[in-house]
Assembly symmetry: C2
Homo-oligomer: 360 residues x 2
């Protein structure tokens, strides 16, 4: 796959929901794909960028794969890929997605799918891809042990300090914060690289990382260490920012200790949504998200310190968010920003300070 | 597989090392297999039980599969299974094991293998098993997503409190402690059931559990919850004891948060080896095991309390172990016992107290 190949994204019925976070990530940034159109009949005729954050991006939304491809052809784009841009319940391919993927393959378009359900396992899709001579990239296809790495401890020889971007829940913007902070650091002359751990990170063009949740548990720490070692050897950055998954105490699948203990990350950027009381998807059961103070203490127990807190304003008015931001900064004595509203450059100074500590 | 089928165990060159922990577990207890012989040329002629803990078990050690099978035949045993009883570096099948497994299959004996390397992927072994019409049970063969469960939150309806047996490192006796304490509780009239999370737990005849380290990361919490739900529905015990894996801060693969947050285990038995300064396998790199006090605090952060500490006396004389035991009991104000030396019944009172708290 070359850089920036033209692509359309499937987000049927979900474009304006958090379930389309893959699409949102690709609309924000995509070094791998040039996004030409999005498919979601509920938002036909709108601009996907405008729906995302009010900023038009000349990426129109269509009701069908056919319409999206026709538009792209009219604009002179040769679409190479059709990307599944949503997370479905249980990571399953819905019937609607299966039909769309088959149509795309029949039109000679390659498929990129990050769901647990593999597109290559669907006989109809596989036959269409085969007939059309197009590739199916199933990002979550589990890899065999010959392709996987165990943890070795070589991490202790890596010079670039690691900062983990940890969240108090899943789906609250860890990846976007990681991306924005990596860019801000590079703009400020600090050579920073992101280590991705999810499918979107790869889709966006990430060079170093792996897909954590479809890795056999025994190899998670080794794959993480391997990604860090590979990054160090290839580009020796000044700092690596590790994209976190889930949350340390998310009952549906805790995650984060791997980042802290297996890569020896000594710094943390903590992403938090003050307006979200319960873990995502468990609102009815009322599984409460623990307080941010207790999260900071827990992170301390893993040998890392929180450098800054980054907020997601979900469920809050602007004024509520601003007052919560001021309250938390005062309470925690830490820099607190809202990455989607504030200038992320504000975090370069505290990160530089952390890096000085680490190399002292 | 019926209960108690005759089996031989392969532990070539490793029977008296911690790498043979699968064998050790099966020698201590096996509801699934009747162990007839062990293969390890380094200990030919010895009794495996005597080598384990000084207690003869009439399980002789032989130099070869052939000798082990001949002995079993002479004793009138019809051996059905040949079990890989060691953990190798990286979970690989060594050439020596491959030869032995092929010999067993050629003799019409089924194979049980818990290594990451699958016996069924070895063409020689697979052909021999096929020709002999015998089964290959590869316990770590990753399961597809159709066979796996996501976490649902239904755990909150489970009445039986959960106690996690967590360790400060891997390979220090968590499974054995879980087993002994489960037995002690049942003997004392508390209906306890073990939830296994490793291959040996299954081999020993465990009814509820799964193999954590060969599960795709995204499904670990769901499989754990599913095992607990299945146990509750089938036998409604008074308490479930969850076998822990690795350690909360083992850099080569932290584990334990899943047990605490995904099953809402509110009690912990903490297994510790005071004579072991570094994480197993990383002695040279000197990755230090954190103090037991900080481990207890960390567990507290996950919402659970340590009910008792259980010690592994590795690397310590009897008197050193006894004095460390007294010191820790005094320091931590907790019951401290050595499960392989002391009477595990001592822990039934503190567990009962915990259960009363939970149902209060």
């Amino acid at each position: 796959m070359k850089e920036q190949e033209a692509a359309i994204i499937l987000a049927p019925g979900l474009l304006t929901t958090p379930h389309a976070k893959v699409t949102h990530g690709l609309l924000r940034r995509s070094a791998r794909f040039e996004i030409c159109a999005v498919v979601d009949a509920d938002n036909t005729g709108r601009d996907a960028g405008e729906l995302l954050d009010g900023e038009p991006r000349d990426i129109p939304v269509f009701a069908s794969v056919e319409d999206a491809l026709e538009h792209s052809r009219e604009k002179g784009k040769s679409v190479q890929w059709c990307v599944v841009g949503i997370a479905t319940h249980g990571g399953r391919l819905t019937d609607e997605l299966r039909v769309m993927l088959k149509q795309a393959a029949e039109s000679g378009i390659g498929l990129v799918n990050g769901l647990h359900d593999l597109a290559c396992d669907d006989p109809g899709i596989a036959a269409a891809a085969n007939a059309g001579g197009v590739e199916i990239v199933d990002l979550r296809k589990p890899r065999g042990i010959d392709e996987l790495h165990f943890w070795t401890g070589e991490i202790r020889n890596v010079k670039a300090p690691r900062i983990a971007v940890i969240g108090t829940d899943c789906a609250l913007g860890k990846r976007t914060t990681t991306r924005l902070l990596t860019d801000a650091l590079n703009n400020a002359g600090v050579h920073a690289e992101m280590i991705y751990t999810g499918q979107t990170g790869w889709m966006q063009g990430g060079q170093f990382g792996f897909i954590l949740d479809s890795t056999l548990n025994d190899f998670v720490s080794g794959e993480l260490e391997h990604a860090v070692l590979k990054c160090e050897r290839a580009i020796s950055p000044d700092v690596m920012l590790l994209e976190g998954q889930s949350a340390l105490r998310n009952p549906s699948g805790p995650c984060g200790a791997e980042l802290l203990v297996s890569t020896q990350a000594r710094g943390v950027i903590l992403q938090h949504a003050p307006g979200r009381p319960y873990f995502e998807g468990y609102e009815e059961e009322q599984f409460a998200i623990p307080s941010i103070q207790s999260e900071i203490e827990l992170i301390g127990h893993y040998g890392a310190r929180v450098i800054a807190v980054t907020l997601n304003g979900e469920g809050m008015s602007d004024s509520e968010l601003q007052s919560e931001k001021a309250r938390l900064a005062d309470l925690l004595k830490l820099p607190v920003i809202c990455p989607l509203l504030d200038n992320v450059d504000e975090l370069t100074a505290p990160v530089r300070e952390f890096l000085l500590e680490q190399t002292a």
